[in-house]
């Protein structure tokens, strides 16, 4: 079908679709302006969507794209569990249960409202966001110590919170009783309801303008047009079966490795992502629901293959995501899930990013080829500090600087520094002054994490390097967790991996003393004590005045052989402190002195590296170097936490010495 063959005028349909898009957007505006939560207003960690009567998405203001699967499942579940005669105009349902309504984790709370025209449900709308707390044994409701889901948080499987416009007080009181900061959270839920109410008004007006039959028909046509465009885009990709494995590490209490294996099949106009062979679910909080796995597949797809297409159910129609119940990608009761999307979910993003990169690079269409990207760090590095302020009031401090990993490099430019997670398009970090104003801490530094972006013709984005010490407090407890620690993110097409992420704690660092003496410590080496390297997840550390906590969030993967990078760009990175001169020389073969690339020395260094590559052992016609990943990264001025069985392989053309491919490998028994 082409638009020329449409029975309806494509301009009219597009004007209609834009009106619908405006409504989903307007819901988001209501959310952002009415909410007080930094997670919503600052990190823009929320989503709004509109579906048809059956829950199929017709419009998605994707602030966070990984909730696409959830939104649909929530409506489907409500329709399945609430008799139709009990659903009335003015009803609002609340859901946060990963096991029934498909939410990412329990602290992501969604509100769903049916939209009636007369007696008929014609649409549903949804608004959802990460709230501060939803009960359970960990503040913030992300519970690394959990071994089953019952203690993680209060779960609400799509139950009425407002009935025909009237608040159901019983439900509100249950929520209020079970959560830590009820005023703020209930305030947020009110703002979700306000967003849905706004949507109801607007959809009613839209139907009045176009007529109900036309409204329904246009929605179907818009889906068909999107599906058709997606099919035609997929048909540009070469058919084949492609596999990638990413590794979930540390489940909260056990430092094991859990493969997330994705087999992608391109068959004419259809794309299939099969996660059946991923690890069985674990008894830690890193498991992911099938709905979130779908969203984590969709997120990189929407960025790299369909960045120009609208989001509706039609967009997803030619895409199939297969998961096996009981695996880490399709969790079943009662395994814990409260950090599943940030852990296993972001590994799904990385696997799909890699597979799309591999296949898009083979397309003839330059638009498709140029939209390849290397994997992102995709590790949300969460630090929580609980300490009394100087008046003795306990102040929980979630440091939003955790969304600071580097983005993957692209064929047209470097990955964004401090980009955050791929699936979090409008991420932003707090000002230092805003954090110091609100919490009992003082930062010693916050800068780009040197050498952290994966080297490449285009380098991966760098992460962040920060340090703080307790301030105006007697000290408290620190909890940290991150998902990329031992297995760094891969580079693409000869690009190198990004550095992994890590926290340290230095007890007895004497930062307060140094400051009093007029010194500002600028590195771990300038502290009075040895730093303690923290595990991927670690809890309950005591942090006293003078002690120092650091986070170095990692970088994204590089794109292309770093020896092809313009020496001037490497020199600029050295001048900016993004690279050390050592890393410039060993990773890029660029010799920088006084901020300037030395042309002759660079040519010689690059020759030397190519010669060395040609000397590597032969495997299947390529020159290959293999070794422990952490050792090789350290050699290049980078870092990942050492782990037995995590190796790194570089594949070069034995004739030219050009790097063709690199890969982080994890042994089965690692």
């Amino acid at each position: 079908m082409t638009t020329a063959e449409l029975a309806d005028d494509p301009v009219t349909i597009e004007i209609f679709s834009k009106a619908l898009q405006n409504i989903a957007h307007e819901m988001g505006v209501v959310m952002m302006r009415a909410s007080g939560s930094p997670v919503i207003a600052e990190a823009v960690d929320f989503s709004t969507f509109i579906s048809d009567a059956e829950g199929d998405i017709v419009c998605y203001a994707g602030y966070i794209t990984l909730y696409m699967g959830t939104a649909r499942q929530a409506v489907k579940h409500i329709l399945k569990t609430t008799p139709r005669e009990d659903i009335h105009p003015g009803d609002v349902f609340i859901c946060n249960d990963p096991f029934t309504t498909g939410n990412a984790h329990q602290v992501d709370v969604g509100v769903v409202r049916p939209i009636f025209i007369g007696d008929e449900i014609v649409a549903w709308c949804w608004s959802e966001a990460h709230v501060n707390d939803f009960g359970g044994f960990a503040p913030g409701s992300m519970a690394p110590m959990a071994t089953e889901t019952y203690g993680e948080a209060l779960r609400l499987p799509g139950v009425k919170i407002v009935s025909q416009g009237k608040i159901i007080d019983d439900i509100w009181r249950i929520i209020e009783t079970n959560i830590r900061v009820p005023d703020i959270v209930l305030g947020d839920i009110r703002c979700f309801i306000a967003a849905c109410n706004r949507c109801d008004d607007r959809i009613n007006a839209l139907v009045a303008e176009y007529g109900l039959d036309t409204y329904k028909r246009y929605i179907e046509v818009a889906k068909d047009l999107a599906a058709q465009a997606v099919r035609s885009r997929i048909s540009e990709l070469p058919n084949g079966v492609y596999t990638a494995v990413e590794y979930e590490e540390h489940n909260g209490h056990t430092n094991d490795i859990y493969p997330v294996k994705c087999t992608m099949t391109v068959e004419d106009e259809k794309l299939t992502f099969d996660f059946t062979e991923s690890a069985p679910q674990t008894d830690g909080f890193v498991n992911c629901s099938a709905a979130i796995t779908l969203g984590c597949v969709a997120s990189p797809l929407l960025m790299t293959l369909f960045p120009d297409l609208p989001i509706n159910q039609g967009t997803l129609r030619p895409i199939e995501v297969i998961t096996k119940p009981g695996t880490i990608c399709d969790v079943q009761m009662p395994a814990p899930v409260s950090s599943g999307h940030l852990e296993t979910g972001l590994r799904v993003c990385r696997a799909v990013t890699r597979l799309l990169g591999e296949v898009q690079a083979k397309a003839a269409d330059p638009f498709i080829r140029d939209h390849v990207m290397a994997t992102w760090q995709d590790s949300w590095c969460a630090g929580f500090f609980y300490a009394p302020d100087e008046n003795g009031a306990l102040v929980p401090f979630p440091d939003m600087n955790g969304g600071s990993g580097g983005a993957g490099a692209q064929p047209i430019g470097d990955g964004m520094d401090v980009g955050g997670a791929l699936a979090q398009p409008q991420n932003s970090l707090p000002d230092i002054e805003i954090n110091e104003f609100a919490y009992p801490i003082l930062y010693l530094w916050r800068r780009l994490n040197q050498n952290s972006g994966g080297p490449g013709k285009y380098r991966g984005g760098t992460g962040l390097d920060l340090a703080w010490t307790p301030w105006y407090t007697t000290g408290g407890q620190e909890h940290t967790m991150l998902s990329c620690w031992q297995v760094p993110p891969n580079g693409a097409f000869g690009g190198y991996p990004g550095t992994s992420s890590r926290f340290t704690l230095t007890n007895g660092a004497g930062a307060d003393k140094a400051l009093a003496e007029g010194r500002i410590p600028a590195s771990l080496a300038e502290l009075d004590a040895e730093p303690q390297a923290l595990q991927g997840k670690q809890f309950g550390m005591i942090v006293l005045p003078g002690d120092v906590v650091t986070l170095r969030s990692g970088g994204g993967g590089g794109y292309g052989d770093p020896l092809e990078r313009e020496p001037e760009l490497v020199a600029a990175d050295v001048r900016a402190g993004i690279l050390t001169t050592h890393a410039a020389e060993v990773s890029y073969g660029v010799v920088v002195a006084d901020g300037v690339a030395n042309e002759a020395a660079t040519a010689a260094a690059r020759d030397r590296i190519r010669t060395e590559r040609r000397s590597w052992a032969r495997e299947d016609g390529l020159a290959v170097r293999r070794g422990p990943a952490s050792e090789r990264l350290v050699e290049l001025g980078q870092w990942c936490s050492p782990r037995e069985g995590v190796t790194f392989a570089e594949f070069a053309d034995p004739e030219t010495g050009a790097l063709v491919r690199t890969e982080v490998l994890v042994a089965e028994d690692a």
Binding site: T2, T3, A4, E5, P10, V11, E14, I15, K18, A19, N22, E26, G36, A41, T65, P89, F116, Q164, G165, G187, R190, I193, A194, N197, R198, D201, A205, E209, L225, A229, P307, D308, H371, G403, G413, D414, M416, V418, G419, P425, N427, L429, D431, I432, I434, F437, L442, W445, R446, R447, G461, L464, Y472, L515, G518, I520, A572, R575, A576, G577
Partner: protein
């Protein structure tokens, strides 16, 4: 001086044209324009003034000698930032935090396409950021005091790298400026040739990223503004101007050249502000209170709202979609829809318009300057709205045939329609985009568009105005006299304005620090206005506090009474007023009942009122005078979907009070006005063209009918919402 020989002159230097408007003591208005000369803006300005003097029928020196006010809106700062061309800037900042501009609080944005998620260009390369060993904390305590040796060393290092301007921005410097002042005084004393921009002087408010970015941009644009303002003043003085030139700010209102040189960045986006201020004056004259202003140029469509004739101000302005600043300016929403916007077919086969533009070069296909991609103007030409011979008063002949071919090839063929219907598709799509923008600034912010009039200016909008208005639910469109030079005219109505904010925390109790801060700002700004020649009784001062619920991210401004003995009760009254203002903004039921309301910062705005010369109204006859068409034109009406023979009228020949019923086309030397079916055009006594929707006045459009229910339905506690 006789009022007959008094002039006020407004001059707007835009991207393509430099527009000038003069009003004389009798209320006669003169306008003209000339090409903008980017390499030296004063050349285009003087050429436009020569043209203007010609229209007045006098020597330029004579006109300037009798000019009592000269207001200039300039793109010099806007261009400097847009093109990233400015001074070689160095930055002094706190040790450990020299990467702030690179980190950019994460530069992620709303684009899904990762090609648009890239690192930001740097105004200050990292090697010209020098970290200074010093630290202040949230109480203003000097944790690590800055030593003279350290300060001197840091300044020397930057000076040694050959910087032309130095920005100084330290953590918590707004709270305790001693360290910033020490650094500044060293530069000022020992390197007077270097432009210095100090964060705590410019914007002493919490949030270091936007404060630093603003300070850096101020330093970046400083030299160009100094050079520009100096040259304009010199050239005009040489030609007889005896009054100081006033420069327009993006915030609305003007300031002196000297102050512009100190705070150059405040001149950014002064062009759009001129149009909004002009709309404000027009609305007052016509007795309209609520206005949507709309300006359609070559590349963009800018909309703004005046509620109760007061422009809305937006804070924390993002420049180039990249640089988050602490600037406040008149709230104007731009979208990529102008006469030069290019039409294309997307991956689904649906026609789209913009945001790419053919710009001034090569421009639309029909201009015959080498453009090959179909634009909005090409669609207007192919539909028959534009007279190929009389476009822009005959100054430019349109080649319609190549435009038709381009639309055929790029749009119509893929859609399976003929060229005219392809042009109609472009017209409808761009009209929908523009009315969506109008909707965003009205309906989404809780205003009912049915109570608004639209003031439509900019050369391309005469054709689209009524159709946009009807889609958005607006019943009246005013196309002002001189729509094509309206921003220049608006400058003449600008008062002299100074505004400044600073952090001031208060949650109850003693208010002496807040009162002292307000008095200090008040004294400084009123002093500046007096120095600019304003008498006490011409000066109005407004005090505001930025309040929020404790725990929230963003504040809302609340008026604070201006009095020497500000008391706790006064701030408590402002606190008490806050919930109602909050719910007016966010919807009823959204207030955080029970949460403490805290003051975060204060702002003082001082306005020196300027008496603008009013244009003289024409005599209105008792009955509308007859006006005859000068011909007819075949036009394909895109919203009707059929070809119609339209009467053509000469706008200039239509006398005051005359009325023209749609469908019709009204040709004006600088714009073409479409009067669609169901609309009536009336020429008012000031030669404004007022379009009224006569067809849907009894049946409110559905697009707007919901706005009134917004407030009540956002509250979950109200019954039944809209059911």
């Amino acid at each position: 001086m006789s009022p007959l020989v008094e002039y006020q002159i407004g001059c707007d230097i835009g991207g393509t044209f430099t527009d000038v408007t003069a009003v004389d003591g009798t209320g006669t208005v003169y306008s003209d324009k000339s090409d903008t000369t980017p390499h030296d803006l004063s050349i285009g300005l003087l050429a436009a003034l020569q043209n203007l003097a010609g229209r007045i029928g006098s020597d330029l020196s004579d006109v300037l000698a009798h000019t009592t006010r000269f207001v200039n809106g300039t793109t010099v700062v806007t261009n400097s930032v847009a093109e990233l061309r400015g001074a070689k800037v160095g930055l002094l900042t706190t040790k450990g935090f020299g990467d702030s501009l690179l980190i950019a609080r994460s530069a992620r944005n709303a684009h899904r396409d990762h090609h648009k998620q890239l690192n930001l260009p740097q105004i200050v390369p990292r090697e010209r950021v020098v970290e200074v060993t010093e630290r202040i904390d949230k109480k203003g305590s000097r944790v690590v005091p800055l030593t003279e040796t350290e300060a001197r060393g840091a300044v020397d290092e930057l000076v040694g790298s050959g910087v032309e301007a130095i920005a100084i921005s330290l953590l918590w410097g707004f709270l305790e400026p001693a360290h910033e002042e020490m650094l500044a005084s060293i530069v000022e004393k020992e390197h007077p040739e270097i432009f210095v921009s100090v964060a705590s002087r410019l914007h002493p408010v919490i949030r270091e990223y936007e404060r630093t970015m603003t300070t850096v941009l101020n330093a970046f644009t400083g030299l160009r503004v100094a050079e520009y303002t100096g040259r304009i003043e010199r050239e005009l003085a040489d030609r007889g101007l005896r009054v100081p030139v006033a420069f327009m700010q993006g915030f609305g209102g003007t300031l002196s050249a000297e102050e512009a040189r100190d705070k150059p960045i405040t001149l950014i986006d002064s062009g759009p502000a001129g149009g909004v201020i002009g709309s404000q004056a027009l609305a007052r004259r016509l007795g309209i209170t609520d206005v949507v202003t709309a300006d359609m140029g070559g590349t963009s469509f800018d909309v703004s709202v005046l509620q109760g004739t007061k422009p809305l101000v937006t804070e924390r302005v993002m420049l180039r979609d990249q640089f988050l600043t602490a600037l406040s300016k008149i709230d104007v929403l731009p979208i990529g829809a102008g006469g030069g916007s290019i039409a294309w077919i997307d991956a689904r086969g649906i026609p789209q318009v913009g945001p790419h533009s053919a710009g001034a070069e090569p421009g639309p296909v029909c201009y015959g300057k080498g453009g090959s991609l179909p634009t909005v103007t090409d669609a207007s030409a192919v539909l028959g709205f534009l007279d190929p011979k009389a476009f822009l008063g005959g100054r430019r002949e349109l080649s319609v045939e190549p435009a038709r071919e381009a639309i055929e090839r790029e749009v119509a063929k893929p859609l399976g329609v003929d060229a005219v219907r392809g042009a109609a598709a472009i017209y409808r799509m761009v009209t929908a985009n523009m009315s969506n923008a109008v909707r965003t600034v009205t309906v989404e912010r809780g205003h009912d568009p049915r109570t608004f009039a639209m003031v439509a200016y900019g050369g391309a909008l005469g054709i689209f105005g009524a159709d946009i208005a009807r889609t958005a639910g607006i019943k009246t469109v005013v196309i002002p006299a001189g729509a094509a030079v309206f921003s220049a005219y608006g400058l003449l109505n600008s008062d002299d304005v100074r505004t400044q904010a600073r952090s001031a925390a208060w949650a109850g109790g003693d208010v002496s620090h807040v009162a002292a801060g307000l008095r200090e700002l008040d004294g400084r700004l009123v002093g500046a206005l007096k120095a600019a020649g304003h008498a006490d009784d011409q000066i109005e001062v407004e005090w505001e506090g930025e309040f929020k619920y404790l725990g929230q991210q963003w504040e809302l401004p609340v008026r604070i009474p201006r009095k020497a003995d500000l008391t706790e009760a006064d701030l408590e009254a402002a606190q008490a007023e806050f919930p109602a203002l909050y719910e007016a903004e966010y919807g009823s039921g959204t207030a955080w009942t029970g949460a403490p309301i805290v003051l975060m910062s204060i702002r003082v705005t001082a306005t020196g009122k300027v008496a603008a010369l009013e244009p003289k109204p024409a005599e209105l006859p008792a009955t509308p005078p007859a006006v005859e068409p000068i011909g007819s034109r075949t036009v394909f009406l895109p919203l009707v979907g059929e070809e119609t023979e339209l009467k053509v009228y000469d706008a200039v020949a239509a006398p005051a009070g005359s009325e023209i019923a749609g469908p019709a086309v009204v040709d004006h030397p600088l714009t073409t006005i479409q009067v669609p079916p169901g609309w009536r055009l009336r020429v008012d006594e000031w030669s404004n063209y007022v379009l009224t929707d006569t067809a849907s006045s009894t049946a409110p459009s559905t697009a707007s009918s919901t706005a009134s229910s917004t407030a009540s339905s956002t509250a979950p506690t109200t019954e039944g919402a809209s059911q």
